[in-house]
C-alpha cells in the first residue's frame, strides 16, 4: 500500500470577519515565495471585486505552496481559504472536509467571536487538528494573554506556545508555518486504492468547461483517465489535472492526499454537484464519500429587470452566476406589477445582497428586488401541505388551515451594556429568550429563538443601531413552528400591487401596514389624480394614506423662443417616466419597491 506523501499538509483558516484571515493567507504565500511581493495584489485569495471591497471572502480559492521547514525538509502546503460569514457556513464545511487541520485566527483585540465558534465546532466535528493563531499583536489594544485565555476557556484548546503574529506587519509568520508542519498531520489515503475524490467546489470556465476542485482521498487521477460522478453517474474523459498556484497549474497527476483540480470538458455544473465523489469509471470505488448535506435556500426574493425589455439579459446574468454558485436557486416568475423576472433563493441575506450586487455590477443591469421572504409551510384545509416563499402564491385564507414559519436559534454576543436594548429588540421581533451567559466581564452571550421572517426584515439594522455595531450575531435554522401569519397586500388606487405583498405575523400587520403606507405615500410622485395607498388583509383595509393629485405642472410662458425649450422639457420629463413602472393606473418609480424594507419614516 502506497501511503500519501508524508510531507503534505492540507489546512484551512478559520476566522471571524476582519480578524485578518486573508492577510495571513497573503503573508504565508509571500513567505513561501508563492507570489513575489511585487506582483502581489493585496489579498490575493479574495478575487472578486465585491469580496475585496467588503473585506470578506465568499468563494473558496485554494492555493498550493512549498515550504522548507527548519528541519531542512521541503513540505507541500495546500491552503484552502474559507468564507467567514454565517451565510456561507456550508462552504466552510466543504473546505473542512478537504483538510486535516485548521488555523484558528483570533484577533488579539477582540477575542473569540460567535461565528468563529460555530466554525471551530464544525472543524472539531470533522476531526481537524486546530492550531490557534493570535493576530494583530501590533495593535495598542492587543490583549494577547486574554485572547489565549479565552480560547482555552471557551474552546478548550491549548494555547501554550501558539503563534502570535501581526499579519499586517509580517511579524512571526514563520511560526505559523512551523506549527503547520509540526501540529497538522499529513493526509491518510492510498494511491493504489480505487479513486475517491471529494468535489469541494467548482466553477465554470468558458474554455475548459467545469473545473472541479477536488481532494483526492484515495487513488490517483491523470489526463486521459475516465472518471465518473457518483450522483449523476455521468462519465467524462479527464483533459487536465493540476494544482492551484493559485492560478491553475497543470500537473501529470493528482495522488492520494493531494488537493487540486480536474477538468474533463464537463458542460453542466449540475451534473457534478459539490459534495459528490468522483471515482474511476473503469475501477470504481464501492462507496462514495459521505459528502455534504444539500444546501437549502433560506431567504427568497424576486428579481426583475428595471427595464422590462432586458429580461433576457437578466436571465443570462443569473444563469452565469449560477454556473459558479451552485447554492443560488431560481425559477422564472411573473409579477403583474413588475413583469417577467425570477424568484431566487439564497443562503442568507448577505448572499442575497451579493448576488444582487453582482448582477448590477458584473452585468451592468439595473434591477428591482422585492422584499426578502422566507419559506412558509402551509397546511391547507384539504389536508395537503406545501412550502410557499412567494406571498402572491399563498392560497386564499379560507383554504388555509394553519401555517408554520421557520424558526432560528440566534446567538448574540455583546458587551453587557447593550443587553437591555437587545432584549427589547428581540422581544419586539417575537423572540423567545432562552439563555444568557457571561463569557467574561466584557462579553455576554444571549440566546433567543426568533422567527426567521423577523430577521430578514430589519433585525440586523436594529441590532447594529442599538449596540453601535458592537454586537455580533449568528443564527441557525432549528425548525418550523405554527404561527398566526397573514398576507398583507398593498393597494394602489384600489388595485393590489403583487410585488408589494408580504407575509407577516398578524400582530405585526397593523404597525407595518401603517409605516409602509406612509413611506409609499412619500415615494410615489403625485399624479393627475389622487391615489389612495392602502394596506389590506384579506380584503379588509387596515391602513390608508393618500398621494394628493399634482396641482401645477405647466410652463408659464410659451412664446417664440420657448417652443423648442418646452419640447425638450417635455421630452426630459418623459424620459424620467420611462424609469417608472405602470401599476394599474399608477406610475411608480422603482425605488418604491425598496420602501417595503424600511422600518421607520425617515
Amino acid at each position: 500500500m502506497a501511503k500519501a506523501n508524508p510531507n503534505l499538509r492540507n489546512f484551512c483558516i478559520i476566522a471571524h470577519i476582519d480578524h485578518g484571515k486573508s492577510t495571513i493567507a497573503d503573508r504565508i504565500m509571500e513567505l513561501t515565495g508563492q507570489v513575489s511581493k511585487r506582483d502581489m495584489e493585496e489579498q490575493l485569495l479574495d478575487s472578486m471585486d465585491i469580496e475585496r471591497e467588503r473585506g470578506i471572502t465568499i468563494k473558496l480559492a485554494p492555493v498550493r505552496m512549498y515550504y522548507t521547514a527548519l528541519d531542512g525538509q521541503e513540505y507541500e502546503f495546500n491552503l484552502i481559504d474559507t468564507p467567514g460569514h454565517v451565510d456561507f457556513t456550508y462552504e466552510v464545511s466543504r473546505s473542512l472536509a478537504a483538510c486535516e487541520g485548521a488555523l484558528l485566527v483570533v484577533d488579539a483585540t477582540q477575542g473569540v467571536e460567535a461565528q468563529t465558534l460555530a466554525n471551530v465546532y464544525l472543524a472539531l466535528e470533522n476531526d481537524l487538528e486546530i492550531v490557534p493563531v493570535i493576530n494583530k499583536i501590533d495593535l495598542q489594544s492587543a490583549r494577547v494573554d486574554e485572547a489565549k485565555q479565552e480560547i482555552e476557556e471557551v474552546i478548550g484548546l491549548d494555547c501554550e506556545g501558539c503563534p502570535c503574529v501581526s499579519a499586517k506587519e509580517g511579524t512571526n509568520i514563520r511560526d505559523i508555518l512551523e506549527a503547520v508542519v509540526k501540529l497538522i498531520p499529513p493526509p491518510d489515503g492510498d494511491d493504489e486504492a480505487p479513486l475517491k475524490a471529494l468535489i469541494f467546489d467548482s466553477y465554470y470556465d468558458n474554455y475548459k468547461g467545469v473545473i472541479l476542485f477536488v481532494r483526492i482521498m484515495d487513488g490517483k487521477v491523470k489526463v486521459g483517465d475516465k472518471i465518473r460522478a457518483f450522483l449523476s453517474e455521468k462519465t467524462y474523459d479527464v483533459t487536465e489535472v493540476g494544482a492551484f498556484a493559485p492560478s491553475l497549474q497543470p500537473k501529470d497527476r493528482l495522488l492520494a492526499g493531494e488537493v487540486g483540480y480536474i477538468a474533463a470538458s464537463i458542460k453542466s455544473i449540475e451534473d457534478v454537484a459539490v459534495g459528490d465523489t468522483v471515482t474511476s469509471a473503469d475501477r470504481p470505488a464501492a462507496e462514495p464519500l459521505p459528502g455534504y448535506k444539500k444546501v437549502q435556500p433560506v431567504v427568497f426574493c424576486g428579481i426583475y429587470p428595471l427595464d422590462g425589455s432586458r429580461f433576457l439579459d437578466l436571465k443570462e446574468a443569473i444563469l452565469k452566476l449560477k454556473l459558479n454558485d451552485a447554492s443560488l436557486v431560481f425559477e422564472p416568475d411573473n409579477s403583474v406589477a413588475l413583469g417577467f423576472g425570477f424568484r431566487c433563493g439564497f443562503l442568507g441575506l448577505l448572499h442575497m445582497e451579493i448576488i444582487q450586487e453582482r448582477i448590477e455590477r458584473e452585468f451592468n443591469l439595473d434591477i428591482i428586488t422585492t422584499a426578502p421572504s422566507v419559506s412558509y409551510l402551509v397546511h391547507k384545509t384539504d389536508g395537503t401541505s406545501f412550502y410557499v416563499d412567494n406571498p402572491s402564491h399563498l392560497p386564499p385564507p379560507s383554504d388555509i388551515d394553519y401555517m408554520e414559519e421557520p424558526i432560528v436559534k440566534a446567538e448574540i454576543f455583546t458587551p453587557p451594556d447593550y443587553v437591555g436594548s437587545i432584549m427589547e429588540l428581540c422581544q419586539d421581533k417575537r423572540g423567545v429568550f432562552k439563555d444568557m451567559t457571561y463569557l467574561d466581564a466584557r462579553r455576554v452571550k444571549l440566546e433567543y429563538r426568533l422567527p426567521l421572517n423577523e430577521i430578514v426584515y430589519d433585525f440586523f439594522d436594529g441590532l447594529k443601531s442599538r449596540t453601535r455595531g458592537y454586537a455580533s450575531f449568528d443564527y441557525e435554522l432549528v425548525g418550523y413552528e405554527k404561527s398566526k401569519l397573514v398576507r398583507m397586500d398593498i393597494l394602489l388606487n384600489g388595485e393590489i400591487c403583487d410585488a408589494l405583498s408580504i407575509i407577516v405575523h398578524e400582530d405585526r400587520a397593523y404597525g407595518r401596514g401603517r409605516i409602509l403606507c406612509e413611506n409609499l405615500k412619500d415615494a410615489i410622485p403625485r399624479q393627475l389624480f389622487e391615489i389612495p395607498v392602502q394596506a389590506a388583509i384579506g380584503g379588509k383595509i387596515i391602513a390608508r394614506e393618500t398621494v394628493k393629485a399634482v396641482r401645477k405642472d405647466v410652463l408659464a410662458k410659451c412664446y417664440g423662443g420657448d417652443i423648442t425649450r418646452k419640447k425638450k422639457l417635455l421630452e426630459k420629463q418623459k424620459e424620467g417616466k420611462k424609469r417608472m413602472r405602470q401599476i394599474g393606473t399608477v406610475e411608480v418609480p422603482s425605488e418604491v419597491f425598496m420602501q417595503i424594507l424600511k422600518t421607520n419614516k425617515d
Partner: protein
C-alpha cells in the same frame, strides 16, 4: 399670418427673476445695436422675399428704455423691408419706470397700436423685492398716458409672501387702469437668477400654493370681464394678442436681434445670445444664427398639439388637417385614448378641461417623442 419680433436687449436694471437676454450696463451700445438691427431687418427681408406680416412685437429687455426714435426708425425700416397687412397689430413692451408723454407720442407716430405694461404686482414692497425699477404710482402714471389705447398689463403669481389679497389688489389696479388684456405668469425661478436662491431656500410658494392663487385670480379676472384664452393670458372681448396667438397656432414668425428665435419654412432657428458676436456677424453681412433645426413629420404634429392645447380654443381638427392633411385623433390615437378623460370636446375642437390646463405637462408628455 406671420409676425415679426424685435429683441431690444437693454434695461436699466436686471430684475431678480429675469432669465432673458438683456444687458443692464450697456445702454451706450444702443445706437450701434439698433444699426445692426436695421441691417438684420434688411437681410431678413431679402431672404424671405414677398411675405405679408400681420404683427410686429418689440420685446426685451426693456424696449422702452432706449430712445424712442430708434423704435420709430425700426418701424420705418420694417415698412421698407417687409410687407405689412392692412391693419397690423404692433406692440411694444414697456416698463412703467421708463415712460413719459413724449415717448408714447413717438411710439404712436411710429404706428404702435398696442402696449404691454409690466405691472407685476401692486404691492410696492414686492416690486422692490423683485428688483423692479418702478412702483405702483409709476404704473398708474404710465397707464394714465395710455387712456383710450389698447394695452395689456403683466401680473405675476407666486411671489415671496404673496397673498390672495395682494393678488386681488393687483388685479383690481390692472383692471381699473383700463387694461384690455392681462398676462398673468407664475414666477419661474430659473437656475442662475438671483431669485433661484429664494426658491432653493423654500421661500417661494410651492406648486399647490401657486395653483391656489392662480385659480383664485382666474375667478377674479373672469368677474372683471377678462376671458382666459391661453394658460397665462386673459383678454376682454376682441383684445386677444394676435402676435402671441400666432405662436400657439404654430404660425410662422421672424425674430430679429440678439437671441431672437424664428420659425419659417419649417425651420426653427435662433440668433446668437452674445451681443458682441451678434453685432460682429451682422456688420460682416452674415446672419448670426446659432441653432437651426428642421421640424417635420411627427415632431411638427406634436408641436401643433402641444401649442394648441395651451389655448382655450384647443386643437381645431380642421386647422390640423389643413396643416398636415391628416386627422389628429388618428395620428395621436394612443395618447388621445389614454388621456381622453382630461379633455373636453366642442364640435371640431378638443381642449383641456379647465382643471387640467395647469397640469398639462403630465398629459402633453404622451403626445411628444415616440
Amino acid at each position: 399670418m406671420p409676425g415679426i419680433y424685435l429683441h431690444i436687449p437693454f434695461c436699466r436694471q436686471k430684475c431678480r427673476y429675469c432669465d432673458f437676454t438683456s444687458f443692464p450696463n450697456r445702454l451706450n451700445f444702443a445706437e450701434a445695436y439698433m444699426a445692426c438691427l436695421f441691417k438684420e431687418l434688411e437681410l431678413r427681408g431679402k431672404e424671405l422675399g414677398d411675405v405679408c406680416f400681420d404683427t410686429v412685437y418689440f420685446g426685451g429687455g426693456t424696449p422702452s428704455v432706449i430712445d424712442p426714435d430708434y423704435i420709430y426708425g425700426a418701424m420705418k425700416q420694417i415698412k421698407k423691408c417687409f410687407r405689412l397687412s392692412k391693419d397690423p397689430e404692433i406692440t411694444i413692451e414697456m416698463n412703467p419706470g421708463t415712460v413719459n408723454e413724449k415717448k408714447i407720442a413717438i411710439y404712436k407716430r411710429a404706428g404702435i397700436n398696442r402696449f404691454s405694461v409690466g405691472l407685476q404686482t401692486a404691492i410696492d414692497s414686492q416690486l422692490e423685492e423683485l428688483g423692479r425699477i418702478h412702483n405702483v404710482r409709476d404704473y398708474l402714471y404710465c397707464t394714465s398716458l395710455l387712456k383710450g389705447e389698447n394695452f395689456s398689463a403683466d401680473v405675476m403669481l407666486g411671489l415671496k409672501g404673496q397673498t390672495k389679497e395682494d393678488l386681488r389688489k393687483t388685479i383690481a389696479i390692472a383692471a381699473g387702469s383700463g387694461a384690455s388684456h392681462i398676462s398673468m405668469y407664475a414666477l419661474t425661478p430659473e437656475d442662475g437668477t438671483p431669485i433661484y436662491t429664494d426658491y432653493l431656500n423654500g421661500e417661494l410658494p410651492d406648486g399647490d400654493e401657486v395653483r391656489e392663487l392662480y385659480d383664485y385670480a382666474c375667478q377674479l379676472l373672469r368677474k372683471e370681464g377678462y376671458e382666459r384664452y391661453e394658460v397665462s393670458n386673459f383678454a376682454r372681448e376682441g383684445f386677444r394678442s394676435r402676435h402671441n396667438l400666432n405662436y400657439w397656432r404654430r404660425g410662422e414668425y421672424i425674430g430679429v436681434g440678439v437671441s431672437a428665435s424664428s420659425f419659417f419654412f419649417g425651420r426653427r432657428f435662433t440668433n446668437t445670445f452674445d451681443l458682441d458676436e451678434y453685432m460682429k456677424c451682422i456688420l460682416s453681412g452674415f446672419l448670426p444664427v446659432v441653432e437651426n433645426e428642421k421640424v417635420e413629420g411627427k415632431d411638427a404634429k406634436s408641436e401643433f398639439v402641444m401649442l394648441a392645447l395651451r389655448t382655450s380654443d384647443g386643437i381645431s381638427a380642421a386647422r390640423y388637417r389643413e396643416a398636415f392633411g391628416s386627422d389628429w385623433k388618428s395620428d395621436f390615437a394612443v395618447p388621445y385614448a389614454k388621456n381622453r378623460a382630461y379633455f373636453e370636446e366642442d364640435g371640431d375642437r378638443t381642449k383641456f378641461l379647465d382643471e387640467y390646463l395647469y397640469v398639462q405637462n403630465r398629459i402633453l408628455m404622451d403626445f411628444i417623442g415616440e
